[in-house]
């Protein structure tokens, strides 16, 4: 069976950018910047982009294309190809399939809220919610964590979840060109148009409350951008910036490896990686930094906005923004634009999370696209219910920590060491420049070999101490939630064990076939 390929260079760049541009660009970045030094946050942010983000982009694009040349679309096969003398390295590659599945389990559900809220915005379902408390009650009832006049069951949320899940399944079933590439080629331009429309609308708010002339957009931008120089002396701020670069670029997950594996051996990876990263930065810093925080400031002032930011990204996206957008003429249409933008950002990311597992089943087990998609859909559908039914019991946080935080850093550290030290910097540099449309500055040979692994090991160590130990010991879990969190942990360990077993079966089969031949 012929290997799938991307239809165009721009197509793969848009697919990788689409994978990177997610909810975090519009909700997480502005909160992180506002809480970690404002404009000064951008200094560690750009340093992290140069030392961590771009090197990891290039490493993953190069490893992906290299592995694809050997018929592997996922990390176990790629790692084994790089270091075939090591019997165990392929099992570390399992993280590159496990992580995306774990994130997919809860991400698709959150993405379905955006579809639901797009509908609610158009139909005016939340128009009666006039303050933060009532809008929060609307969200909690929708999530099924409380019953009130807005929703009395999980039915509507489950309906939108089913629609979103089926849409994701159909797109990945249609394949690389007809599914993923087509969706990203249309979705990304629409996302940028919606983002610019919302940004222009926010910039023209002025000072909506005549009694509070200081609550205006200029000061709203100041809330986000005014530099607090003292923040630069805080290690926490540098870690937050490095973390944000990780989350925003979708590096360390395994999805870029899989996407790049569908390139041909002569396709450029250096410029394509740079373009995808730059596209993501436009969405994050320019659009993401210009919508939610300035808008919230104009309507709720400095104290209100600080409280909202402390409430987290969901609060900002699902509670504050609908309230703010309702104040505009044609508020429902702007509300729809906001949630449609986030839904597009979500679906272009979730389809990338589904692809590694499907590609693994196709490449290593020889399943057809239909069979692989069906196996993935059935399994992930069952697993998604952990996030849907137990969202109020700490399960979502647990999945997010292991899949969306710990695995990312661990996987990135492993692949960086493999690339710079096992594959060898000489070969790695040559491979990176095969078919390249740009020449990467030679300083990156040093950065990739020494600086990136050191920074990653520091982040891994700091996170293990700061978050890993308390999470592993369930110190922040209440007694009533402990059994649910433990259940989620058992589910994750079972999934990991299953994937390790599958890799063992594949390579055992191969060894037996070689012995017979």
């Amino acid at each position: 069976m012929a290997r799938e390929r991307w239809g165009s260079k721009l197509g793969v760049i848009m697919a990788v950018a689409g994978s990177a541009i997610g909810l975090g660009n519009f909700l997480r970045f502005p909160v992180q910047a506002a809480q970690n030094g404002g404009g000064a946050f951008l200094i560690p942010y750009f340093v992290a982009l140069l030392l961590l983000g771009l090197p990891l982009m290039w490493i993953e694009w190069t490893l992906g294309r290299f592995g694809g040349g050997f018929g592997h679309s996922t990390a176990p096969g790629m790692f084994h190809t790089l270091w075939n003398k090591n019997r165990f390295i392929k099992y570390f590659g399992v993280i590159g399939i496990f992580g995306p599945i774990v994130i997919y389990i809860y991400y698709v559900y959150i993405e379905s809220w955006l579809l639901g809220y797009s509908w609610f915005a158009l139909t005016g379902a939340y128009n009666d919610c006039k303050n933060q408390a009532s809008m929060a009650a609307f969200l909690h009832a929708y999530q099924g964590t409380e019953k009130n006049d807005y929703f009395s069951s999980l039915g509507p949320a489950y309906f939108f979840f089913l629609v979103t899940f089926v849409a994701n399944t159909i797109i990945v079933y249609l394949g690389i060109q007809r599914g993923i590439e087509a969706v990203c080629k249309y979705g990304l331009p629409i996302l940028f148009v919606l983002g610019v429309v919302l940004m222009v609308r926010v910039f023209t708010i002025g000072a909506p409350d005549p009694a509070q002339p200081d609550w205006n957009i200029t000061n709203g931008l100041g809330f986000l951008w005014n530099p607090d120089w003292s923040a630069l002396w805080s290690g926490k701020v540098w870690l937050a910036a490095a973390g944000q670069i990780f989350f925003t670029l979708s590096v360390g997950i395994g999805v870029i490896l899989t996407y790049a594996s569908y390139l041909t051996p002569k396709d450029d990876v250096a410029l394509s990686g740079l373009t995808a990263a730059a596209t993501n930065e436009v969405a994050e810093v320019i659009l993401g930094g210009s919508i939610v925080i300035p808008a919230a400031f104009a309507f709720f002032g400095p104290v209100g906005t600080a409280d909202i930011a402390k409430g987290g990204a969901f609060n900002l996206g699902f509670v504050t923004m609908p309230l703010v957008l309702q104040q505009f003429p044609y508020g429902n249409l702007f509300g729809f634009a906001w949630f449609a933008l986030l839904f597009i950002a979500g679906i272009t990311s979730s389809i990338s999370l589904a692809q590694p597992a499907i590609a693994f089943l196709e490449d290593e087990f020889g399943l057809s696209k239909k069979e692989a998609t069906l196996v993935f859909a059935v399994n992930s559908f069952v697993l998604c219910h952990a996030a849907i039914l137990f969202i109020g019991n700490g399960v979502l946080d647990e999945l997010d920590f292991w899949g969306g935080t710990f695995c990312l850093v661990l996987f990135a550290t492993i692949e960086t060491i493999l690339f710079g030290w096992v594959f060898g910097m000489e070969k790695a540099w040559t491979e990176l420049h095969v078919g390249s449309d740009i020449t990467i500055p030679r300083i990156y040979r040093w950065i990739i070999k020494y600086a990136t692994p050191v920074v990653l090991l520091i982040i891994l160590g700091a996170w293990c101490i700061q978050e890993g130990v308390p999470v592993a010991l369930m110190r922040n879990v209440s007694t009533e939630n402990a059994r649910y969190v433990l259940g989620a942990r058992i589910m994750l360990l079972s999934l990991l064990a299953e994937l390790v077993l599958l890799v063992w079966i594949v390579w055992r089969r191969r060894r037996l076939a070689e012995a017979q031949a």
Partner: protein, 44 residues
Amino acid sequence: MTAGGWAFLAASWAIILALFFYSLVRTLRAKDPNGDPPAAPPGD
């Protein structure tokens, strides 16, 4: 917004937009290197 705030906003936007347009223009100008069909995977 303070002068420092404006400076950070302007510098960040300028860096990102310059990087974006540079990489996009170079991408659009680049030729497709795949004149011939992809080679068969060698297997391992």
